[in-house]
């Protein structure tokens, strides 16, 4: 379990994270979604005690991370796959971590095998690894201490499609065995495919927390008409608001029947009328991304 309460981080006058609160329950995968620079990594670093928060607190397994006697035994971390000594071999990186964890050396070989880095790859220096291989090595190290919580920052970066599917399976399996997973990404589709819960963050603030299916369901219908302007007028007449969707058509936060009747009353020909299936979430996310890229510095 991870509990984040009113976490905030300010750098000088700039606010990186602003009053962020959420919970990750055992047995679930929580997707932490936001555009680059939204405050995902800063929040994760505050959870792990790397960055002192300006305000608020975070606990893992009901304990502040820094107070865990042997944190690697409880929490598996992958914060930055490239933060590894380029001169060490993949195997050596895991052996060093296993030594700190007082773990068995046999697990190193087992995990190298599990993440697909067994054999010659294990004895190559990390400097010669691709980003995908570094991610795999990072995941192996996160799993080394048999943790009950996983915190992964953009673990899918650099993985090939096969690797992404593999990682989803691994995380699902981990959560199904009552593990807690917090996983960040800047790609909605990636999170959608694996997460149970979702925390959307933008500009340092949580903009949408909740169950994945609820967030996806709460976005109304997508409607497309032969004459979009006529449709807008028809909707307006019955007091409904249509917002343009990225793939064309309008998003309306209303039941399909209400939209259909409004169109029929105004003799508007509809080409499409269906549940939006998270298109609203995507809209929200794209708005965030657009807003962020303008004023973003770091």
């Amino acid at each position: 379990m991870i509990e984040v309460e009113h976490l905030a981080k300010r750098y000088g006058g700039q606010t990186a994270v602003d009053d962020v609160s959420f919970r990750c329950e055992p047995g679930t995968i929580t997707g932490f979604l936001g555009p680059n620079g939204a405050g995902k990594s800063t929040t994760m670093r505050m959870i792990c005690g790397l960055t002192p928060p300006s305000a608020g607190s975070a606990t893992v397994l009901e304990t502040a991370y820094r107070e865990l006697p042997n944190p690697g035994r409880h929490v598996g971390l992958l914060l930055d796959a490239s933060a590894q000594h380029k001169g060490r071999t993949g195997e050596e990186v895991l052996i060093l971590a296993a030594e700190v964890l007082a773990g068995e050396r046999a697990r190193v070989a087992e995990l190298l095998d599990r993440v697909g880095l067994a054999g010659p790859a294990a004895r190559k220096r990390v400097g010669a690894y691709s980003l995908g291989m570094r991610q795999r090595l990072g995941i192996a190290r996160a799993l080394l201490g048999e943790p009950s919580v996983l915190i992964l920052d953009e673990p899918a970066n650099g993985l090939d499609p096969e690797g992404i599917v593999w990682m989803r399976g691994l995380l699902r399996d981990f959560a199904d065995r009552a593990g807690t997973v917090l996983l960040s990404s800047h790609l909605l589709r990636e999170i959608e495919a694996v997460a149970d819960d979702l925390v959307v963050i933008g500009g340092g603030k949580v903009v949408a927390p909740g169950r994945m299916e609820e967030l996806l369901a709460a976005t109304g219908v997508l409607v497309r008409a032969l004459d979009p302007r006529a449709l807008l007028r028809a909707l307006d007449e019955v007091g409904l608001v249509g917002t343009p969707a990225t793939g064309g058509g309008l998003l309306v936060d209303a039941p399909a029947e209400a939209v259909g009747r409004a169109a029929a009353d105004a003799d508007v020909v509809l080409l499409e009328l269906r549940p939006a299936d998270g298109a609203g979430l995507e809209e929200l996310f794209l708005t965030l991304t657009a807003g962020e890229t303008i004023g973003e510095v770091a």
Binding site: L50, L61, P69, P71, G72, A83, A102
Partner: protein
């Protein structure tokens, strides 16, 4: 095999109480980290080569009365201790340049424990270096009579042995402290070697500076340790120099590390 299967099937949600890693375990890890990279490995090889080179030089070019165990041993330690501080510097700064700090300090969030382990690993490594130097000196002293006239005395007081061990250790600790305070390998290496030289030049050229150098120049104050001529004033002078060049940067570095944000 069955043990591995059991581990894999253990529910991920179960937690067991775990003790933190002992300081001994952390020292072992830090020692391994100091020696498992190319830089670390070659620095150790270079140290051994310098030791062998020094002994060879004395063997063929030294005076007869220099060819004793102590005569071989002291210069060997003095010369190898020029290289060892670099190992101390890299032990700390590589955590930043290679960004391993992220792993190191999330596995051991009490940052001062990691530094304590690095200090102890540094002491252990200094001891190993002293032993290597002693071995080289023994070989030199055995060969000396075969090469030419040699005193060949085997006497080596505890004072000299202890003094040289301390000499080596202070050097490495100085490197570690500079690395910790500056958190940059290049800056730490340059300043660590430049500052004493600047100091020595100042002492040479400005007469009023000479008195200060007796108390603050690390290499001058270390000298009596190497030739076993330590006096009580010498200890006070060495203590002062160590406080300025080792303890002070170490404390600054530790305070900085405890507060700093790791990324």
């Amino acid at each position: 095999m069955s043990a591995i299967l059991e581990q894999r099937e253990r529910p991920a949600g179960t937690t067991r109480p775990f003790e933190g890693p002992s300081i001994g375990r952390l020292v072992k890890v830090e020692l391994r980290k100091m020696t498992d990279t190319r830089a670390g490995f070659w620095l150790l090889i270079a140290t051994a080569l310098v030791a062998a080179g020094t002994v060879t030089l004395i063997l063929f070019a030294g005076d007869t009365d220099e060819k004793t165990l102590g005569g071989f041993f002291s210069p060997t330690v003095e010369l190898t201790s020029v290289l060892l501080p670099v190992l101390g510097i890299l032990a700390v700064t590589s955590e930043w340049s290679q960004r391993t700090a992220l792993t190191t300090f999330t596995l051991v969030p009490r940052r001062e424990r990691v530094i304590a382990a690095k200090v102890l690993a540094g002491v252990a490594l200094s001891a190993v270096a002293v032993v290597v130097c002693l071995e080289a000196a023994v070989v030199g002293n055995v060969l000396a009579p075969l090469v030419g006239d040699a005193d060949g005395s085997w006497s080596l007081g505890l004072e000299r042995l202890g003094g040289l061990a301390l000499y080596m250790t202070i050097g490495l600790m100085g490197g570690l402290a500079f690395g910790l305070a500056l958190m940059s390998a290049a800056l730490a290496i340059v300043l660590y070697f430049l500052l004493p030289t600047v100091f020595a030049v100042l002492a040479e050229t400005i007469s009023s500076f000479r008195g200060i150098a007796d108390w603050l120049d690390l290499s001058t104050t270390l000298e009596p340790l190497a030739d076993a001529s330590m006096t009580s004033e010498g200890w006070a002078q060495l203590g002062t120099a160590v406080a300025v060049w080792v303890v002070l940067p170490f404390v600054i570095g530790l305070v900085r590390l405890r507060r700093t944000e790791l990324a």
